[in-house]
């Protein structure tokens, strides 16, 4: 089974890097789609099935945490595993994400770190 992934980040550069890194993890990556903000990401999640979403925090229109909150309240998409990929990694933010069971990958990252986070989100093991 391949993983269909939605990458949500306001930087096209970062979306491209995340896509490349995903391809380097060795995971069976299927479709990779992109969204430039939380609102577009939420719409994409509702429009098509995804196995994983990688979400930036600091984005215009709807930030990543607001998008995750909205997704968690929507039974249509609440089961999609999320990974936060962000420069922001204060202890408070880390604790909040840990409480919610959402792995965080801090930018910049390498494929190994991304792989660990993705496996943590989808329940896989190395």
């Amino acid at each position: 089974m391949s993983l269909n992934v939605l990458v949500i980040d306001d930087s096209a550069t970062m979306r491209r890097m995340i896509g490349r890194a995903l391809q380097m993890t060795g995971l069976p990556i299927g479709r990779i789609e992109e969204a430039g903000d939380g609102a577009a990401g939420l719409s994409a999640l509702r429009a098509r099935p995804f196995d994983l979403a990688l979400v930036d925090i600091n984005m215009p229109h709807m930030d990543g945490l607001s998008m995750i909150d909205a997704a968690s309240r929507d039974t249509q998409v609440s089961s999609v595993p999320m990974v936060v990929v962000s420069t922001e990694a204060s202890e408070a933010r880390l604790a909040e994400l840990e409480r919610r069971g959402i792995p965080l990958v801090r930018k910049p990252f390498d494929p190994e770190r991304l792989l660990d986070a993705v496996l943590g989100a989808i329940g896989g093991v190395r």
């Binding site: 930087s11 890097m17 910049p108």
Partner: protein, 153 residues
């Protein structure tokens, strides 16, 4: 001058050194470029710059400047094979580099418990306020400069 080891310098350096380490980390992680050392000041050649504002325990602006001549080399691999010709792609890549520098330098200065809100990157607007810290990193073929400025009053 040797570049400090990012893994061993957290909270041990002054602000300018912390800024330099954050730039080195960002360059290695985003652009796959290794630093060759620090320069004393920013060379006077045309440069593109991007800024990210931050608010939290302190407020201000982080600015990152890259010489125009280095842009294709530094960001070419990140820009969808366009070879660096697309201005929007350059702005996006430089903005993301600045975002990563900002996000990495603040915990090195204020500690990991400090929470900051970062603005989206803006390009082409150098802060008018004098820098409170600067770091100029020599890399193959050029340099990358970063500075921290107080918030506009």
């Amino acid at each position: 001058m040797m570049v400090p080891d990012p893994a061993s310098t957290h909270r041990l350096l002054g602000v300018s050194d912390a800024l330099g380490v954050a730039v080195v980390v960002a360059l290695e992680g985003l652009c796959f470029v290794s630093a060759e050392g620090f320069l004393d000041e920013q060379p006077g050649e045309p440069a593109r710059c991007a800024t990210v504002s931050f608010t939290g325990p302190s407020s201000g602006v982080v600015c990152v400047a890259v010489p125009t001549s280095l842009v294709p080399t530094l960001f070419g691999d990140l820009m969808d094979g366009s070879g660096g010709a697309d201005d929007g792609a350059v702005a996006d890549a430089l903005g993301e580099l600045t975002n990563i520098v900002c996000g990495n330098v603040l915990p090195r200065i204020h500690g990991k418990s400090a929470a900051f809100a970062l603005s989206p990157p803006r390009t082409g607007l150098a802060p008018s306020a004098s820098a409170t810290a600067t770091a100029v990193i020599a890399i193959p073929g050029g340099w990358v400069a970063a500075s921290i400025h107080p918030a506009a009053s």
